[in-house]
């Protein structure tokens, strides 16, 4: 191997904050699923909210 090839490997530190926060929001998501919030959201999303789009 040619030892003159520049070293491209680098050291790094894994940031834990996004993983911890990700788990927190995953927890919120699972709580929502557990209490059946998605079906409520789905029912809302199926309706046209006329006020919301400036009609009515």
């Amino acid at each position: 191997m040619n030892k003159n090839i520049p070293e491209q490997r680098t050291a790094f530190t894994i940031r834990k904050a996004p993983i911890v926060l990700g788990l927190f929001f995953l927890g919120l998501l699972l709580i929502g699923i557990a209490i059946d919030e998605p079906s409520h959201v789905l029912e809302q999303a199926k309706q046209i909210c006329l006020n919301c789009i400036g009609i009515g």
């Binding site: 490997r9 530190t13 894994i14 940031r15 929502g32 959201v41 006020n51 919301c52 400036g54």
Partner: protein, 299 residues
């Protein structure tokens, strides 16, 4: 890279608005995919929308929170906040740059030849106030005698609702035309204002008024996918200032809340390899496209 980003924007727009049966049904899509969260600002009353708008859903949940609790249903926005929180933690405002249909629309408008103007830096704080007041506080607290609130941001401000839902539904359902009044004209003026502003300034709605962008901006310091500045390589040439569509001076504030990770600074500006992209601290690639092979610390 810019071409790839444009393709991703187009694909994201089609995925969020892929229900093309509306010319025949004259109505919005009502299928099961609407249980999925749209990552960008995309009105779920748009006839082609396949996903729900997190801001619209959150406002509706907060507006009806008293009635829901009285009925024993503790729908406080867990699912919606969890969805956009996960998106925010991983991508932050990269979503604005890569997956928001209205952001893409503004970019196209800005290509119209005209004299271009900057947006005052102080105006960017307005979107945080809009998020707090119009998306959270007013829907939650300004309620009628039945305890029901209103989706204030959707009702009085959101230009996406007018352009994606209001106008198309008025075309599809002529009977609705008799019901338009102050609300519609107010939102029409706001929509027109932002469209004209987007021609002469870059992404004005994203920078000044978008509450979803404001929410994602809260994760700018901790988001998993982010740009990294290697200060030892930065020559302070300020080339990155010139190309940023959001007016960010990247080498002065790499964690800026306005950075949409469009990669323009990395690919089009920096000639010194000082900007790279990383996920949770793991470098992916440098400006020159060198794929770095990660080593363990002290490895």
């Amino acid at each position: 890279m810019e071409a790839i980003r444009k393709w991703v924007q187009v694909m994201a727009g089609f995925l969020m608005n892929g229900a093309w049966t509306f010319p025949w049904t004259k109505n919005i899509y009502r299928g099961p995919m609407k249980v999925l969260c749209a990552p960008g600002l995309n009105c779920y009353s748009c006839p082609a929308a396949t996903t729900y708008c997190p801001l619209g859903a959150l406002q509706h949940l907060l507006a009806s929170v008293r009635l829901n609790i009285a009925a024993g249903q503790y729908y406080l926005g867990w699912y919606v906040t969890g969805s956009i929180g996960l998106l925010g933690v991983f991508f932050g405002r990269m979503i604005c740059g890569w997956a928001c249909p209205f952001g893409f629309f503004q970019e196209l408008l800005h290509k119209i030849p005209s004299r271009k103007f900057a947006i005052p830096e102080a105006l960017r704080y307005l979107k945080f106030a809009i998020l707090l007041i119009f998306v959270i506080i007013l829907p939650l607290l300004a309620v009628d005698e039945f305890g029901l609130g209103n989706p204030w941001f959707c009702k009085y401000i959101c230009p996406v609702g007018t352009i994606e839902a209001g106008i198309p539904l008025l075309i599809l359902q002529p009977s609705l035309r008799e019901t338009i009044g102050f609300l519609f004209f107010n939102k029409f003026v706001i929509m027109t204002g932002f469209i004209l502003w987007a021609i002469i300034a870059s992404r004005p709605f994203c920078r000044v008024a978008c509450p979803l962008g404001a929410f994602y901006a809260l994760f700018s310091k901790v988001q998993a996918v982010k740009l990294k500045l290697e200060k030892s390589k930065c020559t302070n040439c300020k080339a990155c200032h010139q190309v940023c569509p959001m007016g960010v001076k990247f080498n002065e504030s790499p964690d800026h809340t306005e950075c949409i990770t469009c990669l323009a600074c990395m690919h089009r500006a920096c000639k010194f390899d000082a900007i790279s992209i990383e996920i949770c601290g793991v470098p992916l690639t440098s400006a020159r496209g060198k794929h770095l092979v990660p080593l363990k610390k002290n490895g």
